[in-house]
Symmetry: C2
Subunit: 158 residues, 2 copies
Amino acid sequence: MSEGVEWALHSCVNLAWMEGQAVTAAKLAAIYGLPAAYLNKQLQALAKAGILTSTSGPRGGFRLAREPDRITLLDVVTAIEGAEDAFRCEQILRNGPSADPEIDYRRTCAISIAMRKAELAWRRELAGQTIADILAQVGRTAPAAASNVRSWFANVRP
Amino acid sequence: MSEGVEWALHSCVNLAWMEGQAVTAAKLAAIYGLPAAYLNKQLQALAKAGILTSTSGPRGGFRLAREPDRITLLDVVTAIEGAEDAFRCEQILRNGPSADPEIDYRRTCAISIAMRKAELAWRRELAGQTIADILAQVGRTAPAAASNVRSWFANVRP
DNA sequence: GAGTTATTACTCGGATAATCGTTGTCCGAGTAGGATAGG
DNA sequence: CCTATCCTACTCGGACAACGATTATCCGAGTAATAACTC
């Protein structure tokens, strides 16, 4: 899985803590020492997926497009990784001795079905967790994190 | 996910139908028109994981190392893809403003925990399905497949 | 002083390379079966 | 005819390239704040 997923999730959490204030890609990258231009690329993907909104020019940057409890982890992962399954059935049965050109083996092949079942379980788990859940969890285990991030963004050299 | 997973799973099913008779990598590849040398690589991984046994020389080949109901889909996927999680937490929090060198963020970071939870759901689903389950499912939907494969292996040019 | 305009610095956005993992290929080590020669 | 030895063909096993995706970088289009200028 792309490393950008981790960056995107942490960026969403940080943006949630900024409560609607726009933050530039450069600052979001600097907080963890990430390459700014590349993180920018990931944030663009999030914007294209409707998770973030972007504004250009001075005082511009990114902000969450909707409330944290409306953003699931699956939304973020799908925005970065794409919507297709990790296991993609190539229908190799079409070249086998029992092949039938009429059949769509992505729907009938027992292996494909079993793998898809596992993938759906994964997706269901991700869809059941939102950015708000992450915020709440961090609020319990590391209550200082939110204000630390806010003051860091306030004091960082522009 | 590597395409070799699909090949490995189908090969395991075909080997199960051969009931202990050794089949060469070349034949297993020819049945679906796959590159023989590359499939051989995947089968080696399965052998190293203890899922298959391999014998060299004439009349050699691969066979299942244990009964199909003792081989889970997770066993096969792990043998090909490796044991580490798809989402690997790089602990970027270590570079953040609230960093603590003592903390192992792979265990405490809320994002890491949430992603791991989804991954475990995926693994649980795969671990709950065996090659025998696939065989049973195919036996219901395409009863001719097993004998088709057996006669194909019997008649194929050596 | 207020409004308007030109400027300027800043930010995203997409186009462009570098790196790494997956995919694909090849040849050598080892083995088992069979042919062969001897008893 | 039986047995032991040699040989041959076959198969796995790991070492060696090619391709593609991910990772990383750079510069241009657009924008909003700012400063200057006019009335």
